[in-house]
Symmetry: C2
Subunit: 382 residues, 2 copies
Amino acid sequence: MRRALPTLPFSIEDAARSEQEIEEASQAGEQLVRVNQDTRLDFRYLDTRTPAKQAIFRIQCQVSDFLLSEGFCEIHTPSVIAGSSEGGSAVFKLDYFKDKPGCLAQSPQLHKQMAICGGFGRVFEVGPVFRAEKSFAHRHLCEFIGLDVEMQIEKHYSEVMDMVDRLFAAIFDSLNEKCSQELDAVARQYPFKPARDFTSVEIETDSQQLVAGIRQATQLDYLRKTLRLRFEEGIQMLSDAGVEVDPYGDLNTKWRENLASLLWRSMTLNSKFFIAILWLLGLSIPCHDMMTQSTTTHLMSSSEEKISGAQRIHVAEVLSERAGACGIDVNTISTYIDAFRYGAPPHGGFGVGLERLVMLFCGLNNIRKTSLFPRDPKRISP
Amino acid sequence: MRRALPTLPFSIEDAARSEQEIEEASQAGEQLVRVNQDTRLDFRYLDTRTPAKQAIFRIQCQVSDFLLSEGFCEIHTPSVIAGSSEGGSAVFKLDYFKDKPGCLAQSPQLHKQMAICGGFGRVFEVGPVFRAEKSFAHRHLCEFIGLDVEMQIEKHYSEVMDMVDRLFAAIFDSLNEKCSQELDAVARQYPFKPARDFTSVEIETDSQQLVAGIRQATQLDYLRKTLRLRFEEGIQMLSDAGVEVDPYGDLNTKWRENLASLLWRSMTLNSKFFIAILWLLGLSIPCHDMMTQSTTTHLMSSSEEKISGAQRIHVAEVLSERAGACGIDVNTISTYIDAFRYGAPPHGGFGVGLERLVMLFCGLNNIRKTSLFPRDPKRISP
């Protein structure tokens, strides 16, 4: 290093300090500097010199080995697409070439499905996705890295759920195994207990017993085989807890959140990490989920994070019908629907944000800690 | 598979046929169907059902192991950036939020340098880069996947050149080792001889001898230690061959192409692959390369492909001066220049297009064969 300015905007020491350290000093009458988030992001190249931040970004690059070993092919689908992605207002429009309106993909969903129609069998992608949402929430970014998976189904949708289980157990195992130094470095500044394989709880089919079993655990971590609740079991738990539910209703967001928080509150609180699968087959589906046939949701950390998975509709005629019923002009998505006309295997998949995953694994409170150069409605640099 | 339309736009058999097969049939009086490129791209999900295409995309996902094992951290830098990327007209503009003009990054160059200033030591990225160039050339795309590498330099720029050597040897080794089935599948439709480690040629310091040595080889492939020509040796070769060169001139594109084609023509022609390093230290630099201090260019396949590498200027004051001299308004790139004010180690790096790399390795004639859903000025779907 040479010719650095003699005074940095903040010292690396200040930036590396834990909240606890600052508070203890404060109680002892000493006022230590607290480096705020915006300053950190303005000078991200200083902020990342702290051991915790170094560790966070090294943790992020360990997730794809398992998928490759399971025969998945890593693909790269385009960020620039025609029309308006999956619709809605949360799309960034683009001046492509003169006569072509374009936008940035809100997810690789359509293209990974086309890859399945293209004979790949199993694909995944780690790449940027774009959401023009005017949100400054601690878990929202306008550009983030999606880990998206799609696979052909041989017999039953449970294959997709099994893959979610095995993938995340493998990711967490691998993080614990390969990144112990990095996890320690994060924990020194942002204390957390790393998630651990938690196989001592016996999996019961009865959801009440399950939750009771989990409650007894002193350290809740990830289960090698994730808690899997059927729709009707979820309904039962909610109604037992006095939450009003319509047993013939949709698997809507509020319903999910209620159940997640119920599960969450039932558990010991010394772990911030928790996965459950809710799953639903063959019921009516909310209209915005045009391509969904059966769904699962993994809930993590008090409903904060969802890995949403679904079996897709793979029959072009049904898709067209559904689009019509949802008020979508079929012509605008014809290249997508056409992909299913020439033979399409049953398939399903899921997606999760990479920065969110690391944020939750490390018990961090803001996604701006795990995105290297975060983008939100007010931040487009550095 | 169910309910496929009875007639496909083209048969997988037709799409899987090699040119040779079509021509042999034609000589025997039989007219076989040739599926053209646009039709393949319109129905990419059919085209990818051919063994060769399946193989091509499986080959692409094997490149990052070596870098991780060398202590590089995989990073994800933003695609959406403020201002106009590295300038020029080849930039896609974006409606970010109301008061913020944005664009798509033409390369992760600035951000990977900031990561080096941020203490990462060694970083790489595999991610999309965007070029709004109105080109339909066989090697140009408007969105492609860049493999970009940046590293701190301990003593000398040769460390970066060594890394290029070792990385590409490792990638080629790994492709040959892990993807032999896939390479065979490609070769059945698009005949090529896979590149092979070619260590039997002794490396001579004298460039004339070197080229002579390579000429004797019956199969030219990659050298474990790449042919490395110093600027003045390159000048000498060109002037020996009757090409007019200014020994005090810049390392310009035409100069590079001349030398590459000279090297290329000097060699046996049974391999399409060739790497040489041209390198230049401390001479005057063309103005558009504001951040360059010393450069190398790897030339592959008759100057078609370049891995351009460079040591960057890491002193903010020099950068500011250089920007001024190049007519760039320093204010527009101030967050970039500021990153060097608070301590920046000497560093350098290089980048290459992933689709181009696979295209060249497999001796393919068009990048649209190695990009899953290619984007060019006329093609923004599917």
